[in-house]
């Protein structure tokens, strides 16, 4: 979690300094869902993320140096600079891809699960999405299919209460998003997404269900993002009370308080320092990496190109 936080804060800084361009959606405040979910997975399990993917990629084991290089559009990035923040892919660690299309990754995860099921394998698939994805038609088609075919997939809804700029209440009257999954007969759990052990426990159950052939699960994690929809979001403002409340539920602070009796303040501080140092080094190397070359522009449109 510390590494993710440090990565996102560094990304924010690099964006502010003009070292990273594009649309940058940070997961500051949502680290516990990424870590709790991915921590329950095996290397061969397949994760599909959305437009806010950095935390998921890091939690699944992606290299932060290659991630920074990708964000900065460099040749050494995971996607040679062609993907950028929203289209990160590190399939070698089971972080198959992210997508800029809200809910677009759900069917991809289902297809991965179908392939695993059809080959008699026990690998499972995970799709991360936000509360904004739940109002798409694709979401409902996918829940129906996942349930109908008992696919080994875990659908992870990070409900941060905001879809783009507006609150969830402006998008739907459904207060508990997991109710949608109830309709399709999918087991659900709605829980505190800022509580790492709680996230992990919910995910362990879901993974067990998927891996043992008992079908999909829908996990709704209630969380918050502590930054705007994207860096530079003109509507991101919080009053003092909101800020205090948000900071009180910061998943890193909460987990640190849990660990404090065991590790002590010094060790906890060192964890944070080590994470920031690793991130600084990775960012520095990424920014020194070469730009893509002219010939790269036309490469990999189709196989052999």
């Amino acid at each position: 979690m510390w590494r993710i936080r440090a990565f996102e804060e560094k990304a924010s800084e690099l964006f502010a300094r003009g070292k990273i361009s594009g649309l940058l959606h940070l997961a500051i405040g949502q680290e516990a869902t990424a870590v709790g979910v991915c921590g329950a997975l095996q290397a061969s399990d397949q994760v599909f993320s959305g437009h806010r993917p950095h935390a998921h990629a890091i939690a699944k084991g992606a290299d932060i140096g290659r991630m920074f290089a990708e964000l900065a559009g460099r040749r050494t990035g995971y996607c040679g600079g062609k993907g950028g923040s929203m289209h990160l892919a590190a399939p070698e660690v089971g972080f198959v891809t992210a997508t800029g299309v809200v809910a677009g990754n759900l069917p991809l995860a289902l297809g991965s699960a179908l392939a695993s099921q059809g080959r008699g394998k026990t690998d499972i698939a995970v799709a991360f999405f936000g509360d904004g994805a739940v109002q798409t038609g694709l979401f409902h088609e996918c829940l129906n299919l996942a349930s109908l075919w008992r696919l080994p997939v875990v659908l992870v809804c990070e409900n941060n209460g905001r879809a783009e700029f507006s609150p969830l209440s402006a998008h739907t009257v459904v207060e508990r998003l997991a109710d949608h999954a109830d309709v399709y007969g999918i087991p659900t759990e709605t829980t505190d997404g800022n509580d790492l052990p709680g996230v992990r426990a919910a995910m362990d159950d879901a993974v067990d269900r998927a891996r043992s052939g008992r079908g999909p699960s829908f996990l709704e994690f209630l969380t918050q993002r502590l930054r705007g929809h994207y860096e530079g979001d003109p509507t991101h403002r919080r009053n003092d009370a909101e800020r205090t409340e948000a900071e009180a539920s910061d998943p890193i602070g909460r987990y640190a308080r849990l660990l404090q009796p065991m590790l002590g303040d010094t060790e906890l501080e060192e964890i944070a320092v080590r994470a920031r140092a690793a991130v600084e080094l990775a960012a520095e190397e990424a920014l020194a990496a070469p730009w893509p070359e002219e010939g790269d522009l036309l490469a990999n449109v189709v196989a052999g190109s």
């Binding site: 062609k82 892919a89 299919l145 189709v302």
Partner: protein, 326 residues
């Protein structure tokens, strides 16, 4: 060479062959275990079972995305889109994921996916069951698009599509389903990206696609009786376009007519003519002419449908227009 069989049977037998050849080939679509509305997948479910011949709900968007996900995992899905018009519901997954994932991930991922799309005018099916949408797919980097007219190509290009490591949109015209021919390429798939001169001629080149190849051939026969020698090129692949075969033909004839069933505006013909202008403008002795449908949705009334769809007479008129006054 085999005995003459129907185009629709060439599709089913090639699916059967590819399903047997490679365990990763799976077929997904609405009612595919029942054979679909035209019988293209008839009998496959009995042979390969429900894990490989997968009936789907009417959820085109999710099914297309799911097929992409399965392809990313190494399967070779063949998705059937029952009517071309319904691919509109799946365009997001087709364009944003199937076509782009190889490029966006710089080759880390590939999407070996075949999309069988049945379309075309005929039978008074109206505006939601009759369109030809090849120009939409042509506009998308990362997609290959084939449109077989002959029975041989129906087989050879389907095998090629399934074995290809990129997404291939395979366009079927239902007006061809019952036409007969022989399969020459049952073992070796055809090559995607090659057009074919199906009737050599000296005076005018007619490049046609899908069912319009048959129309162009009929036009060429009639014109031959009047002493006009038409060369017919079957485009076979819509993307990438084989400009080499086409320009080579135009260098001999100096005249070009493009014939497709889709609306003329913004169509395949426009791209083809622009490509020919860039490559062989000086070989043209008269302006190229496009034959296609008028700029309207497809009407349902049989009378209006006949007026809508390009005919043998339309191709003949276009060919004559390219020739000097006689």
């Amino acid at each position: 060479m085999t005995d003459a069989i129907r185009y629709i049977d060439a599709i089913s037998s090639t699916l059967r062959q590819e399903l047997k050849r490679d365990d990763d080939v799976i077929v997904l679509g609405e009612d595919v275990s029942y054979g679909g509305p035209f019988g293209a997948t008839a009998g496959l479910s009995d042979m390969f079972g429900p894990t490989r011949i997968v009936d789907t709900p009417i959820s085109e968007g999710a099914v297309m995305g799911l097929a992409v996900g399965a392809a990313l995992a190494g399967r070779r899905p063949v998705v059937e889109v029952m009517f071309a018009d319904f691919i509109t519901l799946a365009m997001d997954q087709l364009i944003n994921h199937a076509a782009k994932l190889r490029y966006m991930t710089d080759g880390q991922l590939s999407v070996p996916l075949t999309i069988r799309v049945q379309g075309g005018v005929g039978g008074g099916y109206g505006a939601h069951h009759s369109q030809s949408l090849e120009a939409w797919f042509l506009h998308v980097p990362g997609l290959k698009v084939v449109a077989p007219c002959s029975v041989d190509d129906a087989s050879g290009l389907l095998a090629a599509a399934i074995r290809d490591d990129d997404p291939v949109v395979y366009l079927e015209h239902r007006g061809l389903y019952w036409s007969k021919g022989s399969i020459m390429s049952h073992v070796d798939p055809a090559t995607i990206g090659l057009a074919a001169v199906v009737r050599p001629g000296a005076d005018v080149t007619v490049v046609a696609v899908s069912r319009m190849v048959q129309v162009a051939m009929s036009a060429a026969e009639k014109l031959a009786a009047d002493g006009v020698d038409v060369e017919v090129v079957d485009l076979r692949t819509v993307s990438p376009i084989d400009l080499e075969t086409i320009t080579e033909s135009i260098r001999r004839t100096g005249r070009l007519v493009v014939a497709h069933e889709a609306v003329v505006t913004g169509g395949l013909g426009a791209e083809l003519v622009a490509g020919v202008h860039a490559a062989a403008f000086n070989s043209l002795t008269s302006p190229a002419i496009r034959v296609g449908a008028p700029f309207t949705p497809v009407p349902a009334s049989p009378h209006l449908e006949r007026l809508y769809v390009p005919t043998v007479d339309d191709v003949i008129a276009a060919v004559l227009e390219t020739l000097p006054e006689r």
